[in-house]
Amino acid sequence: MEQYITEYSKYIIAILGIIYVLTTIWPVFAKNEEKLGLVYGFQTLIFFLIHTSCFLNLLIRTENIQIIFFYIFQLVALYTTIILYYIVYPQANRLIVNNMCLLMALGFVILTRLNYNKAIKQFVIVIISLAVSLIVPELISRFKKLNEWTWFYGAFGVGILGLVLVLGAVTKGAKLSFSLAGITFQPSEFVKILFVLFIAGLLSQSIDFKMVLLSAVCAGAHVMVLVASKDLGSALIYFVGYVVMVFAATANPIYLGCGFGGGAGAAYLAYRLFSHVRVRVIAWKDPWSVIDGAGYQITQSLFAIGCGGLFGLGLCKGSPKSIPYVDTDFVFSAVAEELGVIFAVCLLLIYLSCFLMIVKIALSMSNSFYRITALGLGTTYITQVFLTVGGGIKFIPMTGVTLPFISYGGSSVLASILTFSVVQGLYLISENEKKKRYEFIARRRAERRRYE
């Protein structure tokens, strides 16, 4: 019986993954995505089935009874989130809420499989983050003077990053985090949000050449501090986010060209200057020649994705733990190995659907500050997904960033939740605008009728 369950559930999980992805297409392209209540309800059902079958597998494989309670706690936490959002913010974007909860559930599944204790730690952090972030949409939509704090975001962000650079603990050869009261923070994750607000604030004031130049200098300051901290992955995310925001605000392709031309030049310079950059490029070009050194991590990751096949080896049946940093930078490879290529692709498409939804929100905003903010947050988020997945499968050189919502790490998951909460706040504003516009049109019509 157990054997049958574990043998067949991987096919079921893959099929459920495909069904879920299909349900995300509709809201992304629908004109009135808020009226698709049935689709969202169906999504939560699929989400429940995926989560449950994964945990059933884990239970059978590990024979650890505690997992049942852990699973129930997760169900309660995630469903409470979905329901609370529904009650507190009936106008919130439910696709983003559902996707976020599914991704976090998958994160718990994979972390439980890799390291039970870390999974519990992550769970606690997620609960706190969810509780904290519940007020964020309200703050964003209520507080209309968000764009007046522009310089504060910039100064605060660079200040913190600089502080990390100076004081920070050395982890993995890069200065990324510092400890406060026993909790380790990786501020570049949060500062990302401030950075987006800052750049959006500048560009919403004016888009003349002087302002773009000023914003370039400020963005350059952020990126430089990150490069000095050897946090190249974050530096790249900030950079891409900046260039896309400028392009969207000005609609001037010259800025886009300058941005990516400058980026290519900077990348080349980094390649020549820093040995750790060269090592990563070598490990990307031919990891097999340096398999016992710089290529070890990436080749282990390739073994994992190569051995999984379409449907994966099944949870607990692979050996993803042979990949160094599997629970942070290479968590996608663990998914591919045990849940299979099909499900891993579904996962990518779920990430992509969130991004497209954020783009849709950006397009619907009339206020340029909100517009650029939404796009900036979406861009930094999807760039992060691209860098970590592409690095893990040798599509691009490895940069060492986390997979949003799934990777282990408090800062990463909290920052991801905050990002989506801010997006929800922006969505509320856009929905309000929509409502007002409808009311305005209705009033105009009524007036005209009275006039006639």
């Binding site: 054997q3 049958y4 043998e7 888009i207 896309v244 392009f247 969207a248 605000a249 000005t250 609609a251 398999i291 016992d292 070890y296 080749t299 282990q300 390739l302 073994f303 994992a304 994705i305 190569g306 051995c307 999984g308 096949g309 379409l310 080896l313 049946k317 692979g318 050996s319 042979s322 591919a336 290529v341 891993a344 692709v345 990518l348 992509l352 991004f355 497209l356 783009v359 950006a362 397009l363 009339s366 340029s368 517009r371 796009l375 861009t379 999807i382 691209f386 997945v389 592409g390 499968i393 040798k394 599509f395």
Partner: protein, 490 residues
């Protein structure tokens, strides 16, 4: 009033400007979103293709710990001969560990190989298949309940126990190698390398083998051994000559005085024989060194090199197991002395018995080289076919006309030349002998023979080398004869 109108106009202008900007900005955003989707699509395609096409190669990598997972779940499959005899099988001991058994002892030491202290031969080439188990889920469930391992997939090879036995016995205590193949399909029927060892005892004897640097017991001489080809190389020189003189090659004439000189270099015929007046056919049949050195000197070096490279010298061979790369380094800068040596397969030229067998196969098979292979099928424990390997054409390495001319030359070797010992066999053989001198000592030579039968419709190609035995005609030809006898006995 005027003022307000102006500002009104300005305001309207500003609003249209903003609207236009917003429209452009929307395009920019949609463009970026589309670009991102395309990038993700490319990544997904790359991911899918990579993971689907590299599975086997990845699992065989020794850095991949996942092999161990399969070892714990499945019992390594069996390796079978072409007629179903068991060449290797695993028994699960009481401690759950598998013991690999080789019922034929030393006989298949190099071709089937060993597993334990690394992997060689078919054990290495088919490692992935042997580790997999394709039995039904219900059987897997049953095994799981009983706490048993699943039987891995079996590999059916092209090896023939009878031919392998004869070949091994014929070599006896000599060092050397034999390759037997089917030129029509590329199947390898037998592959022997001596000295050999018992693959079952490899772990116990490993240290001794490592200390013993002289015998090279673990080396598969058939594929890894690089020897001077001696007179068998005249097949290649003859091909180059025919190719460069397609209309006049049969008018070739030479008078052998037992030697030829060019500058300070002097090439002697084997054991000082004087062959007198000859044409290409008699030069080849009698294996006249002087005449072939003469032919070599007449060749255009660039085209000679192209012919040599076309026969897979200085390049990779299309085989799945470990082999040595043959070398024949003729260039525009080669001196006359070098070319004379190359033409008769002495000096710098080196090749493996397997490579010579491939060329022989191509001559036998109208110039078409079939891709050599040892694994015919992979089956699951219930006997259902999982993978079926069909004969595959590698390439036409010489024209049909060229191959039929070479066939005629090689037939004459048996009828009237150095291969006379096979003249009276019940089947017709064509071939070429070789006595490759080494160490610079004239008396020491490796005995070579490579040939095929029956000439009319070749079914079997045999290549023999016996280290330090003497002349090919005296020592290698009879051994090839025993293998042909065995094959045509049925």
């Amino acid at each position: 009033m005027n003022n307000r109108l102006k500002s009104d106009k300005a305001r309207r202008q500003y609003v249209t400007q903003m609207r236009r900007l917003r429209k452009k900005s929307n395009f920019a955003i949609i463009g970026f979103a589309g670009f991102t989707c395309a990038l993700f699509l490319a990544m997904i395609v790359y991911f899918g293709i990579y993971s689907m096409t590299h599975e086997e190669e990845l699992i065989n990598n020794s850095f991949n710990a996942r092999q161990q997972l399969l070892v714990e779940e499945n019992r390594r499959g069996r390796i079978l001969s072409r007629n179903g005899e068991i060449l290797a099988e695993s028994e699960t001991g009481e401690d759950g560990k598998d013991i690999r058994k080789y019922p034929y002892g030393n006989l298949f030491a190099h071709s089937v190989g060993y597993t334990g202290n690394g992997k060689t031969g078919i054990e290495s080439a088919a490692n992935y298949n042997l580790l997999q188990s394709h039995i039904s889920t219900s059987e897997k469930v049953q095994n799981d309940i009983n706490g048993q391992k699943n039987p891995g997939d079996d590999v059916i090879t092209s090896l023939d126990v009878a031919l392998q036995t004869v070949a091994s016995e014929a070599l006896g205590i000599y060092k050397g190698a034999i390759v037997v193949s089917n030129p029509k399909t590329g199947e390898i029927l037998a592959m022997v390398s001596k000295p050999d060892f018992d693959p079952e005892k490899i772990a116990e004897q490993w240290d001794d083998f490592m200390k013993d640097t002289e015998s090279g017991r673990l080396i598969n001489r058939a594929s890894q051994g690089l020897y001077p080809p001696g007179s068998t190389c005249k097949i290649i020189t003859a091909l180059a000559y025919i190719r460069q003189n397609p209309d006049t090659y049969n008018k070739y004439g030479f008078t052998c005085k037992g030697y030829i000189t060019s500058g300070d270099e002097r090439i002697n015929c084997y054991h000082g024989s004087v062959h007198g007046a000859e044409d290409l056919v008699t030069s080849f049949a009698k294996s006249c060194n002087a005449s072939f050195a003469n032919i070599g000197l007449s060749l255009d070096k660039k085209e000679y090199r192209e012919t040599v490279d076309g026969l897979l010298f200085n390049s990779e061979l299309p085989v799945q197991f470990i082999y040595g790369k043959s070398v024949m380094d003729i260039s525009e800068d080669s001196t006359d002395a070098d070319v004379m040596q190359d033409a008769i397969g002495q000096g710098r030229t080196l090749m493996s018995p397997l490579h010579l067998n491939l060329i022989t196969q191509a001559v036998a098979n109208d110039g078409v080289l079939m891709k050599p292979y040892l694994i015919r099928q992979v089956i699951n424990a219930d006997g259902n076919i999982i993978k079926d390997y069909q004969p595959e054409e590698y390439s036409q390495i010489m024209s049909t006309d060229e191959s039929s001319i070479l066939k005629g030359l090689m037939r004459e070797v048996v009828l009237s030349g150095t291969g006379k010992k096979l003249k009276d066999a019940s089947y017709s053989v064509a071939g070429k002998t070789g006595s490759a001198e080494y160490n610079g000592v004239k008396e020491d030579s490796h005995a070579w023979f490579t040939g095929f039968a029956p000439v009319e419709d070749p079914e079997i190609a045999v290549t023999v080398i016996i280290e330090g035995a003497g002349s090919g005609g005296d020592y290698a030809v009879p051994i090839a004869g025993r293998i042909f006898d065995k094959y045509f006995e049925k």
